[in-house]
Amino acid sequence: MHQSLLDLWYGFSVAVEPTNLIWALAGVLIGNLVGVLPGMGALSTISMLLPLTYPLAPVPAILMLAGVFYGSMYGGAIGAILLNLPSHPPHAVTCLDGYPLTRQGRGGAALGITMMASFFAASVGIVLMVFLSPLLVSLAARFGPAEITSIMLLGLLAGATMSRGSALKGIAMTLFGLVLGCVGTDTTSGTVRLALGLTDLSDGVELGALCMGLFGVADFIVNVNRMGSGYSSPTMSMKDMRPTRSELRRSFLPMLRGTAVGTLFGALPGTGPTITSFLAYAFERRLSKHPERFGTGELAGVAGPEAAAHAKTQMDFIPTMSLGIPGDAIMALLLGALIIKGIQPGPQLITDHPDVFWGLVASFWIGNLLLVVLNVPMIGVWVRMLRVPYRILFPLATFFICVGVFSARNSLFDVGEVAAFGIIGALLLRLDFPLSPIVLGYVLGPMLEENFRRAMLLSNGSFNVFVEHPICAAFIAISATVALFQLYSFCRRSLAAPRVRCAKTPQTDLAD
């Protein structure tokens, strides 16, 4: 534990280096902006910025991309509370009580409380990350190919079944992602697989093109002509962001509970901040002495879910950074960025590249602090930005996508890939398929295959190896439990009468 603190100190020294600091600042600013603006989520933004990071060293690159991620969580709350506009799904539940608070003139206070809850939850998440990760790593030293395969299976299964929509569709999309991962040259045998006869595909599908097509272009296609042009501006004064003492008292416990929910779920791969915030909201309502007040401006309904979402966001990094298993699509992207830089994710990341790991952890704190400090004066700016009409944003964003993808491999074919995945993504969204499992499958596919191959090679084709090793067996058991739970809830749902409650959310199924 003492070692962790020393390492953290080292991380701070890395994070405050001017280059790293500037890139981290850029990341959180962009993330905050993106969080405020509807239509472009953290996922599409990180996809767009990915090529920008290629000439950078690994540390500033990952600092910036991570900053975009948790910066967008802060920004999303602003739109949700002030304008009843959930730019991104995790904040849909914040609207329910946040907007009524604005109408009562307490919007600024709600925002202030949200900021505090977010910072608190993020801090807890960071502390856990500092102390849990080395533990996880020492555990992971005993991981062989069979163990890694079973963890990846669990991650893929969890990602497939816990994302929005039917579990079957999630599994189908994960499999689709795995297939996409197979496209290109097989590393072991050198055979070119599934390349449709195109030489440009012999290097595989480009990660940036896949993501920008699926999440950027498809997003635009689905949202164009559906977004309202111009939003009503809040008439309340934004200067009063100071919450009253009773408001603080009332939101303290929900903040703690929300953090607990987020932390617990953060450890699970496959769940996203959206599910976590919904669960926290339901939890608060269940526990509250005045459940009927929810929906009319109850602070617990704002503090709890936001804390949960932020804790979850930080916890997401733990399995990604310490084990190399991404919890959702955004983490998969960040891992992809590391791989492109030549950094192999996995348990050895902490020891081989301590500057990346500990610098990242330290920058979380600095970034969160920056965000809290920035958002206080910048509220007015964000609100004004929301007035830029979508019809101007998306063509420019399309342009940036084209240039960005091209610059990754200097290949216009990749830009064509973006168009192809744009159609595919739009059609899949129309048919109500979740898109994030595709990225999970694509990033994990090659690693899964390699480890599975190795495990089978070592065990001479016998599946017994998966149940013989205790760690492996444990993960397989958890996966089986997840699968069985899905079956159970499915049977229950098809027998009970369906209750459909319509909530207004934009058509984005990104980091969930």
Partner: protein
């Protein structure tokens, strides 16, 4: 309507699985102990086909409250896709400037509220920004104009 969409989804997944498994037959599958390049694709294809069948057979379940598939705007889809495609094609033959201009112009026409004038202004602005930031600032490896 929802049922048709679900059935269609199942069909697509089934077809996808079958075609992947079929395509993978060309590669050496090998055995479980020493897997060839074709092993994984075949397994994935079969799994996909099974899932597709399951989707067709199983009745669609009541969806979670926040799921609401959108209708697709044909105009939006065609224009955005044409915009991206035009960047790829024109960039190959004519260079960055024409590609940028056409891409933004066509894409912005996808929105019903964008007039021709709006699209022109956007395209112009994007091209200028693109040239300054990407070509001069970031040294993008795409010539501004292909001569001839």
């Amino acid at each position: 309507m929802q049922k048709i969409a679900d059935r269609l989804g199942g069909m697509i997944v089934l077809l996808m699985g079958l075609s992947v498994a079929a395509a993978a037959q060309h590669y050496d599958t090998g055995s479980l102990a020493s897997m060839g390049p074709g092993f994984m694709p075949v397994v994935l294809g079969v799994l996909l086909a099974i899932v597709g069948l399951a989707m067709l057979v199983v009745a669609p379940v009541a969806r979670k409250p926040d799921a609401r598939p959108a209708g697709l705007s044909m105009r939006g889809m065609l224009c955005i896709l044409a915009g991206v495609a035009s960047f790829a094609v024109l960039g190959n033959y004519l260079g960055l400037v024409p590609a940028s201009f056409c891409a933004v112009f066509i894409a912005s026409l996808g929105d019903r509220d964008n007039s021709l004038r709006d699209a022109l202004i956007l395209a112009l602005a994007a091209t200028i920004v693109g040239v300054v930031v990407f070509a001069y600032g970031l040294h993008l490896q795409l010539p501004l104009f292909y001569g001839g």
